[in-house]
């Protein structure tokens, strides 16, 4: 069975728009939160988000957007994008350069692209309202492909002339972990030699504020206190957007091209809670099974895992579910891998989270550190027995477990190993 390696990364995130700045933010535990102007209204209780810097995508007209001068994007390419399409497009350009891939390596029948995004609520609303107000004849011909779930794969596959497998994944906050997992399958089953896993979220008012209806957003006004997974005083997640791309390649391709991979994606597992449409199982049963499935699928023992990059989003119920699942897999056997949630720095990137955080894991393996879980003043007693690290340590993990959970109780666990 062909082994699968991560050979390229691209980031547009609240904590940096390239691998170097992301790595330094993670190492130094610098968060990316700001007071968000559209939320500074009396009827909006939530005030803070993880902002994407250097981009302006507030307009519903992509030709109004601004982005770093390093990227040039033609009108015919940008016209059908959602804000997160632009972020992921830029991340893709970074990842291609990082993996040293030329045009012939990108556009061929052995190279595919899987994507994950929640679509663009802002553009869906704009185009739908235009249709209702002005009639269908005045609707933009590109309104649908710019806004529906799937917009990210449509746009990237066309822009980068992808000829292999392509598909979009939709399991809410587990979406891009699923995309990585099935991208792994494409390569390990010998169906593709290379897969781009792209993910994005608009991370703006229309994408984040609807979560206020569930009362899951942190109401903290201090950007430095808003996101604190595993802390006893946490009060909800902080939303964020951006784009991330992970390049997966078969061992043969890695050898043929003579590139140095970040790490191996060894395998994965998944399981569902079968419990509630939006609330995770209090004992984290689905996530526990997902982790156990990942370990047994790869033959890696729990004791080999040095670091868990947790899903923990800083919600009251979710963090406890994960803590219990982790204790069931590791704690009961007396195994204490380092655990942290990088969402304390980035915020919760929803569909983007799994791919972005897997990218972080690959990066920190190469850079040689394990990031601390930021903003913990008092650890939730529910985490007792778990090694939640509060400061960055200069140890490069050899094996990392990456958790992701989404609505409907979907859980995915990915296993990464340093070469």
């Amino acid at each position: 069975m062909p082994r699968v390696f991560i050979t390229g990364l691209g980031f547009v995130t609240s904590i940096g728009n390239d691998a170097a700045s992301v790595a330094s933010s993670l190492r130094e535990m610098r968060h990316g939160f700001e007071t968000y102007p559209p939320f500074q209204k009396p009827d909006v209780a939530c005030k803070v988000i993880g902002t994407v810097k250097g981009f302006s995508t507030d307009s519903v007209d992509p030709e109004d957007w601004t982005f770093p001068a390093a990227y040039t994007i033609k009108r015919e390419t940008i016209r059908s994008m959602a804000p997160h399409g632009l972020y992921a497009h830029c991340a893709m350009i970074q990842a291609l350069a990082d993996a040293r891939l030329g045009e012939a390596d990108i556009s061929n029948r052995d190279t595919g692209l899987f994507a994950a995004s929640g679509g663009s609520p802002m553009l869906t609303h704009y185009h739908h309202k235009r249709m209702l107000d002005l009639g269908p004849a005045r609707c933009s011909p590109l309104g649908i492909v710019a806004s529906i779930v799937g917009t990210l794969n449509f746009n990237l596959v066309a822009s980068f002339k992808i000829q292999g497998a392509s598909c979009g994944f939709s399991s809410a906050c587990a979406s891009s972990a699923h995309a990585l997992a099935y991208g792994f399958e494409e390569i390990s089953r010998g169906r593709q030699k290379r897969m781009f896993i792209a993910a994005g979220e608009d991370g703006n008012r229309d994408a984040i504020l609807p979560f206020a209806g569930m009362r899951t957003l942190s109401l903290q006004t201090d950007p430095a206190l808003a996101s604190r997974p595993f802390d006893v005083a946490r009060d909800g997640f902080v939303g964020t957007g951006g784009g991330g791309v992970v390049v997966l390649e078969s061992e043969k391709e890695v050898e043929r091209r003579g590139v140095k991979p970040y790490c191996e994606l060894v395998g994965w597992g998944q399981a569902s809670d079968g419990y509630n449409v939006a609330i995770s199982h209090p004992d984290g049963t689905g996530l526990r099974t997902a982790m156990e499935n990942a370990l047994s699928a790869t033959g890696i023992s729990a004791a080999e895992v040095d670091y868990v990059n947790a899903h923990a989003t800083s919600t009251l119920i979710g963090d406890i579910s994960e803590a219990r699942a982790l204790r069931a897999v590791f704690g009961e056997m007396g195994i204490r891998p380092a655990i942290s949630s990088t969402k304390a720095l980035t915020g919760h990137a929803l569909s983007l989270a799994g791919a972005m955080e897997t990218g972080f894991c690959a990066l920190l393996m190469r850079e040689g550190f394990t990031p601390g879980s930021a903003h913990i003043t008092q650890l939730d007693p529910a985490c007792e027995g778990l090694n939640v690290i509060r400061e960055t340590v200069k140890v490069a993990p050899r094996v990392i477990l990456k958790n992701s959970s989404g609505f409907g109780g979907a859980n995915v666990a990915l296993l990464l190993r340093r070469p």
């Binding site: 030709e63 033609k74 009108r75 015919e76 016209r79 004849a137 005045r138 933009s140 011909p141 590109l142 649908i144």
Partner: protein, 324 residues
């Protein structure tokens, strides 16, 4: 079948501009809609909306097209003639064409049906179309692709002296093809043991294409048609032969009307073989006369004929491929 072009319905009503006077609010909306167009486009649009004068229309339409063309191709549009092709020359795809249409509709306050747009292939087609729309004139006939059966049915010239295998006729000119088979009777003597297509016959072929244009494409007076049997050769000037043409060569012929005033029509013509110039004629003048439309040969509806395979023009820009 999407490859077929629809004949235009005749009843195109003149546009009645909104009775509401052009208000400052309208000007602000117009400025916003045209914010990525040149200032002169905006000015022309304001003038059009204030006065309804169709003379301002081409500037608006060209300004809108320019806004949607990639910057490196805009130079082409600057000194474009009406033959500039939307797809091949300007890189405008069917989705971009829709964007252009929606903005033009918005700015000129008119409604355009998808069916009406199928035949717009060149900048000239677009200008003519919008002009007809605004003035309430009938829409021009779309480019017609005529197979040999149709050509034989309408032409006064017949085999073995007909030198067109296929042709397309639009309101601005005609193109045709003829393959030299080697079986042409005159090649037995022109020349001895060395068959070469006579230059005079090539000029004849261009003349025949001009005849076909007069019958199928030329504008006429209401209720009148150009009688096929009234067309004769009167003269030619500036004829030069550049290349010997022999059996196996495919002649690509084109003619364009330069002047047309009863009873004379003057054309320029050219023949190529592949990319090579074969014959140029600066002026070919024919004489013609009008007859009552009912007396004219009944034209088979060329528009219903499928376009020749492999011809780019068979893909009009407004075919939106939905892959939903």
């Amino acid at each position: 079948m999407p490859d077929q072009v629809q004949p235009n319905a005749g009843g195109n009503k003149a546009l009645t501009l909104a009775t509401k006077p052009f208000a400052p609010d309208d000007e602000a909306a117009l400025r916003e809609a045209l914010k990525r167009c040149s200032p002169s486009t905006f000015e022309a649009a304001v003038q059009f909306r204030k006065t309804g004068n169709a003379d301002h229309m081409p500037a608006v339409v060209i300004g809108v097209i320019e806004r949607f063309v990639e910057p490196d191709l805009r130079a082409k549009l600057k000194d474009a003639d009406d033959d500039l092709r939307l797809i091949e020359d300007l890189g405008i795809d069917s989705l971009t064409m829709m964007e252009i249409v929606i903005l033009v509709e918005d700015v000129l306050q008119l409604t355009i049906n998808n069916d009406e747009l199928r035949n717009l292939r060149t900048v000239g087609d677009v200008k003519t179309f919008i002009d007809c729309k605004i003035r309430g004139l009938p829409l021009p006939r779309p480019t017609k692709f005529l197979p040999i059966e149709h050509i034989g049915a309408v032409m006064p010239v017949q085999p073995p002296f007909l030198f067109l295998n296929e042709a397309s006729v639009s309101s601005t000119g005609a193109n045709g093809k003829y393959k030299i088979t080697g079986q042409e009777f005159f090649l037995q003597g022109h020349f001895k043991d060395n068959p070469v297509m006579p230059a005079s016959i090539m000029l004849e072929a261009l003349g025949q294409l001009a005849v076909l244009f007069l019958i199928e494409g030329a504008p006429t007076e209401p209720g009148k048609a150009i009688g096929a049997n009234t067309i004769f050769f009167t003269g030619c000037e500036g004829v030069r032969a550049h290349r010997m043409c022999k059996p196996g060569d495919i002649l690509t012929l084109s003619i364009k009307p330069k002047r047309m005033k009863m009873p004379l029509a003057t054309f320029e013509g050219a023949i190529r073989v592949g990319q090579e110039k074969a014959v140029i004629a600066e002026d070919i003048t024919l004489t013609f006369a009008y007859v009552d439309a009912a007396v004219a040969p009944v034209a088979i509806d060329g528009a219903a004929q499928p376009a020749p395979a492999g011809d780019n023009s068979a893909n009009p820009p407004l075919r939106v491929a939905i892959n939903a």
